[in-house]
């Protein structure tokens, strides 16, 4: 019995080194050489190197001159992620959806049935960096008005930042909100 216990422990230690240390270090080593920017976190930096965000991680936009992202169950806290975990029949969930929809009707001057559902529902991780193209388009008039530029120019920027489905059918067409807002900032304060 003692021999069998010793065998188990020794095996644990050896495999711990292989799978817990050698394997991650191998992946890390190759990753940082081949994809250095992505392995680090796909950050967007200013000229001085400070991080403005990650192109993969959504951030909160509340000011009227920016396109807004989806609601977030964690307020875009990228150190503690999660969804709302509201069940489909939860009255609090439905009240929250209704309240967001009413705010959008007010802010964008659209009717209720023009609101795409991704703009009134929270994502799973609370960090969704994307909105649907339809959700971007209903915000165009407001952003153009706030920035005093032609709506057509803003619409062009939305189109330029719309990614199609991968291979034409995998995933949904989408707009990266941070990228789009950065392009807007470059456009209006060059």
């Amino acid at each position: 019995m003692f021999k069998e216990i010793k065998e188990g422990f020794l095996f644990t230690l050896v495999t711990l080194v292989l799978f817990g240390l050698v394997y991650p270090l191998l992946v890390w080593g190759v990753g940082r050489i081949v994809f250095p920017r992505k392995a680090e976190g796909s950050f967007i930096r200013k000229a001085d190197g400070t991080i403005m965000g990650s192109e993969l991680v959504g951030q909160a936009f509340t000011q009227p001159e920016y396109f807004h992202g989806r609601p977030s169950g964690v307020d875009y806290n990228a150190a503690s992620t999660g969804g709302t975990n509201y069940g489909p029949s939860n009255p609090d969930h439905l009240a929250a959806v209704q309240e967001r929809a009413a705010a959008i009707v007010e802010r964008e001057g659209v009717s209720l049935d023009e609101i795409p559902s991704d703009l009134v529902t929270a994502s799973g991780g609370g960090l969704d960096p994307h909105i649907s193209p339809a959700s971007a388009l209903i915000q165009v008039e407001r952003v153009a008005r706030e920035r005093r530029i032609a709506p057509d120019r803003v619409r062009e920027l939305v189109e330029a930042h719309t990614e199609g489905a991968a291979l034409g059918f995998l995933g949904r067409p989408r707009v990266n909100v941070l990228r789009l807002n950065l392009a807007l900032d470059e456009e209006t304060n060059p």
Binding site: W28, S54, N85, G87, S117, S123
Partner: protein, 570 residues
């Protein structure tokens, strides 16, 4: 909409296509035959066995094999329990995370040692980088390899005649880990990095957003862990929000790869079985039966999620893009519904959408996946669970035609039936018994602010949250209806215990059963032999699984998701 359905079919077809080459490769590895990866991987296998001083020539009978399995698991449990408890003073902890509290550490380590990966914590705030590597990533390899080793021993027994010895547990585990999981994981991890999954040892990044707010962005050695979490039917994510997090699953292509990685090994193991016992038609029958159970669940879930939430539609908001609460725009509702079913039939448990927010009937499909727990199933253990149903089917069919039941030329007798019944009945007992106890405690708590007030959604959905949690623990799945506040002593200890019972009894009882069959001498196949490779057998098996597996849970399903569905607006 129709592109989404096409995408679902495409994503489904890939693991089916890869199951044949991968399954044949695994059969060669476990039979000790040459493979094209030997020049790289055989030295790794030899080094592990030599350094661990394993006597590779030792052949084990089923008792010794089971003992080695349990003992090695006790050892990894103790070592990793120490690591997470002491992580505060160990190195590689740039964000200064403290050690885990004992009941949470008990739950976490039991969860990962049993290949469940139920998580009552959020990785980004509760685990150091060292724990993520040498506790979590390490366990995700070893426990997956343990399940595969157990299946390989069972396959040898089923293929044997007058066989006493089932092989060497440590050799099988090393081969599964170093020659199957390791090369796949390296490739998947590197592709994930190419899509944007981080792999770094630097601490959380500080960003200043466009609106001038501070945003701390947690990161770490993510890619290595995500790869093995998907491949080993583990499912425990680096981040609390799992593969909904844009770092764990950045693009539709990473989503395709991760969905493939959930089922590629479970599907391929059916092919391995066919090759190793030299009964390809039998393996094909099982494969098709499993598909016939899997596809209806996928179809219902995808249909329900693409239809959207009728409660939100009743508010006057368009649902043409499907139900989007808890989902990511980049994947869409269809691919998320496919994932939800795939991850639960296979005992993986990773998520790319929040299951708590699925529409009621779509949320029932993952529960059915976990109640059956044998549709491809966990790496290794999925077929082991199906074996129990096969034995029961053979028995039922034998009774119907008035013949002694036999399986692969061996008589199935009282001893085998007792073991099969034990393994079969444990699962509903743990799920329904556990849920009943949880309901009792919950209902008898007057104070809604107390630690016992653990459900977020009242009414039938709250019942579903508790039912789902025990289903997930007993199926060694690990996904959750996360509205349940489960980091409390009650949930940590009860589900911890359920996971341990539900892991080892359904491995060891079938090992004993298969070993008993393996010891018997196979009768030669004749015209009158009991065919297990026919359409009739496949259909009978399908019916037994549906009737026994689903009906036991029907009353609970009615109280939870079905009641909620009926109360939704039309």
């Amino acid at each position: 909409m129709s592109t989404e359905i096409f995408a679902v079919i495409f994503i489904l077809a890939i693991p089916i296509a890869t199951s044949i080459p991968l399954g044949l490769y695994m059969a060669r590895v476990f039979s000790g035959q040459r493979t094209f990866l030997d020049p790289v991987l055989v030295p790794v296998e030899k080094a592990v066995l030599k350094l661990a001083a394993v006597n590779a020539a030792e052949e084990m009978d089923w008792k010794r094999y089971s003992r080695a399995l349990v003992l090695s698991n006790v050892c990894v449990w103790m070592v990793t329990f120490f690591v997470v408890s002491l992580q505060g003073i160990l190195p590689l902890n740039p964000d200064g995370i403290a050690g885990m509290e004992p009941t949470l550490a008990f739950n976490t380590i039991s969860s990962f040692v049993t290949n469940t990966n139920l998580q009552h914590y959020s990785g980004e705030s509760r685990l150091s980088y060292l724990s993520q590597m040498i506790a979590i990533t390490f366990l995700q390899f070893v426990t997956a390899a343990t399940g595969m080793a157990a299946l390989v021993a069972i396959i040898r027994a089923l293929g044997g005649s007058g066989l006493e010895k089932l092989g060497n547990f440590y050799v099988d585990l090393t081969r599964a880990g170093a020659r199957v999981l390791l090369p796949l994981a390296v490739v998947v991890a590197l592709v994930l990095i190419s899509q944007g999954t981080p792999m770094t040892f630097e601490g959380a990044a500080r960003a200043t957003t466009l609106e001038g707010a501070e945003q701390a962005i947690a990161r770490g050695p993510v890619a290595a862990e995500v790869a093995i979490k998907q491949l080993g039917t583990n499912g425990g994510g680096y981040f609390g929000s799992n593969s909904t997090h844009p770092y764990e699953n950045p693009t539709p292509l990473s989503n395709l790869l991760e969905t493939w990685a959930i089922t590629c090994i479970p599907m391929a193991m059916v092919v391995t079985l066919g090759a190793m016992v030299r009964r390809r038609r039998f393996a094909l029958t099982i494969f098709l039966t499993m598909l016939a159970l899997y596809i209806p669940l996928v179809a219902v879930a995808v249909h329900q999620e693409l239809r959207g939430s009728s409660a939100i539609a009743a508010l006057g908001i368009d649902q043409s893009s499907g139900s989007m609460e808890g989902k990511e725009v980049r994947f869409g509702a269809g691919a998320s519904a496919l994932w939800a079913v795939t991850t639960t039939v296979t005992s993986n448990g990773s998520v790319n959408a929040m299951h708590d927010s699925l529409t009621p009937i779509a949320g029932l499909m993952p529960m059915i996946g976990m109640w059956l727990n044998n549709i491809f199933g966990g790496v290794g253990v999925g077929f082991i669970n199906m074996l129990i149903y096969i034995i029961v089917t053979v028995f039922v069919a034998g009774m119907m035609v008035g013949r002694t039941p036999e399986f692969l030329g061996k008589k199935v007798e009282a001893y085998e039936m007792k073991l099969a019944s034990l393994a079969l009945l444990l699962h509903p007992l743990l799920i329904l018994g556990g849920t009943a106890i949880a309901c009792y405690f919950w209902a008898n708590t007057a104070d809604p602010g107390s630690a016992l007030a653990w459900i977020k959604n009242r009414g039938p959905h709250g019942f579903s949250e508790m039912l789902y949690e025990f289903s997930s623990a007993s199926a060694n799945n690990g996904s959750g209806f996360e509205g349940l506040s489960d980091n409390t002593p009650f949930w940590n200890l009860s589900t911890g215990l359920v996971m341990l019972l539900a892991r080892y009894i359904p491995i060891i009882a079938p090992l004993a059963l298969a070993a008993s069959l393996g010891r018997k001498n196979a009768a030669p196949q004749t015209e009158g032999s009991f065919g297990v490779d026919t359409f009739t057998f496949g259909f009978t098996l399908w019916a037994v699984v549906v009737i026994l597996g689903v009906l036991m849970f029907m009353p609970a399903a009615v109280l939870g998701p079905i009641a909620e569905h009926l109360a939704m607006p039309r």
